[in-house]
């Protein structure tokens, strides 16, 4: 009993002392992960790709600007409530930029960001309206919003078979994320002359889609677009194959086209299409460095077969953007230890052009991202990749979004979001 008591006192003592020691000289990049829970298969890939890039920078370059980066993970299990707990645990620690990795968590912390002066970068998820930098100074969704993506996918379909007179099925996870692109379909349907068939999949039915595919079989859409996540994706592809729906007329968004979705199906999923903005494979020098400095020496939790996979590479690109923003912030302020507010400026001034991508060892990996004050989405071009039975193969060049359609929608959505918020922080851009 006495020993136990002494042990407890010592534990509390170390606990207090470690807290006071945790303010060492390092760049704290908070990272909310979900290596646990129903989406762990996806979450592990994302977490590894993100962390490995920073670990590689620490090993190869000694951090950013000579200061080590600490990509501190906080496990959320993809649960929104735990996200708030994570957010609180990063408070007062000079966090630089938040990566919530969940739209639900993003919504909860979006309003707090201006108060705590820490920007949020939601790469490929989050609120589409955050693309409007004047309304959302503290939120970024480089390189594309869901709405831009939907228009690009429609452009792709138009270039393949034409859209006029076609029937487009939209299979989506029935939560905020899945419903988000519906306004674009409603807007473009009459304009481009196609008919939309909405097929919502409730969260509980993710793995039981036979009735949905019965509907699709009955209605015979020419194309099916999918906004799915987690177990919904492989189930949908399996059902599509079973109902003999042509898989090369079935296209997923960028969260519905990863190796974890198709690998278990193998050749059965051959022909399935998906959009993406990051190239797969390990041929890029930056990824080679990550393997050399981090994965092979076993400095992270990454297994050898993970680098090069869709989600790993995409999360790495997320880390690249943050690293570039921190570097830009260091350059702009002249300080080595930057703050969240500095990184916000860094994100607005990110210059990731072809030359810089090549310098980073990522030539041809993705579309250039040029930050801006008013445009927190930038460009929004994507490409289409296809599953060949064993790997994802890039099929097209970059497909730009229909800016004229997306921009008015974004403006309206941004205005709507702030309409009932008192004291909302905005900024003016020149």
């Amino acid at each position: 009993m006495k020993k136990l008591f002494i042990g407890a006192v010592m534990a509390i003592g170390t606990f207090i002392s470690t807290i006071s020691l945790s303010f060492a000289d390092e760049l704290l990049v908070p990272h909310m992960t979900y290596r646990v829970g129903p989406f762990a298969a996806n979450g592990t890939m994302i977490a590894n790709g993100f962390t490995d890039y920073f670990l590689m920078l620490n090993e190869r370059d000694g951090g950013i600007g000579g200061i080590k980066v600490n990509p501190e993970e906080c496990e959320t299990g993809y649960k929104a409530q735990v996200g708030v707990e994570c957010y609180e645990s990063y408070r007062g620690k000079n966090a630089l930029v938040h990566t919530p990795n969940s739209t639900g968590i993003t919504l909860q912390i979006l309003q707090k960001a201006p108060e705590d002066e820490v920007p949020i970068l939601t790469m490929g998820y989050g609120l589409s309206a955050a693309a409007k930098g004047e309304t959302f100074p503290w939120a970024f969704n480089y390189p594309a919003s869901y709405w831009s993506q939907m228009t690009s996918i429609l452009s792709y379909i138009d270039s393949q078979t034409g859209l006029k007179g076609k029937k487009i099925g939209f299979l989506y996870l029935d939560v905020g994320y899945g419903r988000e692109p519906i306004p674009v379909l409603e807007e473009l349907g009459p304009k481009m002359g196609f008919e939309t068939l909405l097929v919502p999949v409730a969260g509980k039915e993710m793995q039981n889609q036979s009735s949905h595919w019965l509907t699709i079989r009955k209605e015979k859409p020419d194309w099916v677009i999918m906004w799915g996540w987690g177990a919904m994706n492989p189930t949908a592809i399996k059902e599509a194959a079973k109902t003999r729906f042509p898989l090369d007329r079935f296209i997923g968004n960028w969260w519905s086209g990863a190796h974890v979705d198709t690998q278990s199906l193998g050749a059965k999923a051959k022909g399935y299409l998906a959009s993406s903005y990051t190239t797969t494979g390990t041929s890029f020098p930056a990824i080679q460095d990550m393997i050399k400095y981090v994965v092979e020496p076993g400095k992270s939790k990454t297994k050898m077969d993970m680098p090069g996979k869709v989600l790993y590479n995409r999360a790495m690109f997320n880390a690249v953007l943050i690293a570039e923003a921190i570097m830009e912030a260091q350059k702009m302020t002249g300080k080595k230890m930057v703050t969240g507010a500095d990184v916000r400026l860094g994100l607005e001034n990110v210059k990731l052009d072809e030359a810089r991508l090549k310098e980073l060892g990522l030539e041809g990996f993705t579309a250039p991202v040029m930050g801006g004050c008013a445009d927190h989405e930038n460009g929004g071009s994507i490409f289409v990749q296809q599953w060949d039975g064993s790997d994802w193969i890039r099929q097209t060049d970059l497909i730009p979004p229909m800016t004229d359609v997306v921009q008015p929608l974004l403006t309206a959505a941004a205005e709507k979001y702030v309409s009932d918020k008192s004291g909302w922080t905005t900024q003016k851009c020149n």
């Binding site: 534990a11 929104a80 409530q81 645990s89 919504l107 909860q108 309003q111 009932d420």
Partner: protein, 362 residues
Amino acid sequence: MFYRETGQFKSKYKEELAAFPLAEDKVGIIILLVIAYVFIPIFGIPGLPFEFTMGAIMIPVFIFTITTLGLNILLGFAGQISLGTGAFMGVGAYSCYKIMTIFPDLNIIICVILSGLVTAVVGMIFGLPSLKIKGFYLIVATLAAQFFLEWAFIRVAWLYNYNDSGGIEGTNKEMFGLIVSGPQSDALTRYFIVLTLLVLLTWLASNVIRGRIGRSWMMIRDMDIAAELIGVRPLTAKLSAFAFSSFYIGISGALMVFFWLGAAEVESFDVSHSFTYLFMVIIGGLGSITGSYMGAALVWVIPVLIKEIGKTVFGFDAFIMENFSIIFLGVAIVVILIVEPHGLARLWQITKQKLRLWPFPY
């Protein structure tokens, strides 16, 4: 020795019926209130960052205590089991959001209480099956309520004002010139509001439970036929239990979104949360107000502390600690149910019994 009623004489009926007839209890409650109102706001919890203490421990624990109190009234005192707690919290949150957006100038505390009343009505409607069915069948009926309400939160876009995000968001709300809710509010202000509501609701619950209505709930719980024979009307007793319980749950749901999370999607009100609240009640102790406090605190705080200590002291990876805390909670539930099926509240009672004689047991 420390806990003796010897020598404490009552000369009036009123004293005999007081909530805390023992002087020790009164002192204990006063100490607890002083800790909650003075000590924690000034010092926080030693060893933990202040903001983290407020935002990740104290405020959620108080809110979940209100939930647990509500569920305990239904389950522990009236004997009607419900698995719709998560959804009823959602009713509170969504109705508070609607009231706030329709009447933007209304005081937020009034919004919260109104949302509790809305939830009470909804709870009564879904409590109607309890008049005919009980036990497992009632569980299924309340589960239906859970699924129906979840569906409504997704499908009825009017509930979230047709937001593109599909969620509800809080905004800055002032009260007496102080921002009490929303992103710009101070954690301490929110802490005091939630704490005060918790104290008031506990006071209300303890008095209602000791009164005529509460006794009729317990009679229904213990033997409904006998209760009916001696003049308790099951209709009023059961429905009032559902209404009262839902009132608490609704308030806690509104508080959860507007004084803690700041925004919420359907996911925050799903069935797994209903189970968590059920665990809180069972671990704390059925039919005990003290137990509601203990259950909510244990189920919420232990995983948070395990994760925080594991990360900062032992340097374990976040996800290992997450898995560990899930395992720990599961084991804790099993162990507590085997060792003490009446929950932590019963352990506390045993401690009190021991303290009467300690240190001179005979």
